[in-house]
Amino acid sequence: MSRPTPVVAVKGLTKRYGGRPVVDDLTFALDRGEIAGFLGPNGAGKSTTLRLLLGLAAPSSGTAHVLGRPFAELTDPASTVGAVLESADFHPARNGRDHLRVLALAAGIDRARVEKALQTVELTDAAGRPVRTYSLGMRQRLGLAAALLGDPALLVLDEPINGLDPAGVHWLRALLRTFADQGGTVLVSSHVLAEVTQTVDRVLIINRGRLVADQPIAAFTQDGSLEHAYLTLTTAATA
């Protein structure tokens, strides 16, 4: 039996800015139902990798595919990938419901799903207020609602824990677990190592654009703390 097409397949992915590689020959693949934590120091190339995967930037070489195709060639991108890149991706004067409606219109998603997504992230009561009045945590949840609009197979989240209070972190963890249990795949970048240990199935560590570890979370907890492994890997590669 042939292996099913990976949800994410990154092969030899490289991005250079002014000759300097920011992402350097990165290769990994993610399957259905996996939650992968994408870790690395500031400037390691995490966000650039996510932008390459989402077609916002073009690779210098290599490929980044979602379900066998580059993002730009997906026939229905919103129902394939949902992404939260930065908590600031909103027009401050537009209200939360209209933010989702504008995206739903472009993706051909009906209005009922906008209300459902607002309910899922518990923002129905605040949906009529301009986003400028939202707290950082509320913005994160609105970003998640946008990502969930198309009922995607893959969630790509860049630092989603920033700005969430402990209850919010707990809520997000449950949401991601349910999503993965239903067959969804999650690629989540984070700095909060303690949180990662509780949420992810697998850890990818990137340093200076290169992948320095790709293992199940269990492998790290057996060796000691993830923090210890992380610091060893990222400082050893730097030295």
Binding site: R51, L54, G55, L56, A57, A58, F71, A72, E73, L74, P77, A78, V81, A83, L85, E86, A88, D89, F90, H91, P92, A93, R94, N95, D98, H99, R101, V102, L103, L105, A106, A107, G108, A146
Partner: protein
């Protein structure tokens, strides 16, 4: 592209920007035409040609500028706020996004042009009447003034979108449009052979401007302005499709 067009039209109507632009335009146009109608001597306002010249000067200058600003804001506000990322995630084919934006800002620009000319026609007529002067514009003058003003606004809005898409940063885009339409085109009025072909002057010609040196064939002016707009749109599409999004 229908989905994207509906999305772009929703973007224009779900922030206060469009209404603020229209309200400011009405206020400025009314003030400017009122000041002209009161400030100029009666022999500068006596004939239909004089009145038309002033109406077009005020309405089309302001209409073209505000339409271009609205066009530029439709993309630079997205880049500035970061919403350009979810926009491109929903529609990875960026030429489709630019096409939908072009159609939506063209429609909004028509409205801007119509509001500018309508305000000037209305306030101008009242102001002239209060001064005891009769309005000498014919029905045909009004049709060309309103229709040409609207079309000029629509086309300049698309040019503004293209400038915003190429420059990307909001403040430099708006400054470039202000500098060109208010300053450079004014300087060029001394070089009639050149000035008659610049976008602002072409928009005026569309509305019926007949000052010395202006193109007096609205068809030619319209065709040239459409050609500029198309070229700008091609540049905007290429720039947007080829560059990485931050």
């Amino acid at each position: 592209m229908r989905r994207q067009l509906r999305s772009e039209l929703a973007k224009l109507t779900t922030t206060p920007t469009t209404v603020a632009i229209l309200a400011t335009l009405v206020g400025l146009a009314a003030l400017a035409v009122g000041l002209h109608a009161y400030g100029l001597s009666t022999n500068q306002l006596a004939t239909g040609s004089d009145q038309r010249k002033i109406f077009i000067d005020v309405a089309v200058n302001l209409g073209a500028l505000f339409a271009a600003l609205l066009g530029a804001l439709s993309i630079t506000a997205e880049i500035r706020a970061g919403t350009i990322r979810p926009t491109f995630l929903a529609t990875p084919h960026r030429a489709t996004v630019i096409g939908a934006k072009a159609v939506s800002v063209f429609a909004a620009g028509l409205l801007v042009g119509l509001v500018a000319t309508g305000t000037v026609a209305g306030v101008g007529a009242v102001a002239l009447d209060l001064r005891g002067l009769s309005v000498r514009l014919t029905a045909g003058d009004y049709v060309q003034f309103l229709g040409g003003g609207a079309l000029g606004g629509g086309l300049l809005a698309v040019v503004g979108l293209a400038v915003g898409a190429v420059i990307r940063a909001q403040v430099p885009s708006l400054v470039a449009l202000f500098a060109w339409l208010l300053f450079v085109e004014n300087l060029l009025t001394d070089l009639a052979a050149v000035h008659r072909f610049v976008p602002g002057a072409l928009a005026q010609a569309l509305a019926g401007q007949d000052r010395a040196g202006a193109l007096r064939t609205p068809g030619t002016a319209g065709a040239l302005l459409v050609a500029y707009t198309a070229a700008a749109l091609v540049a905007a599409t290429l720039a947007t499709s080829r560059r990485d999004v931050a």
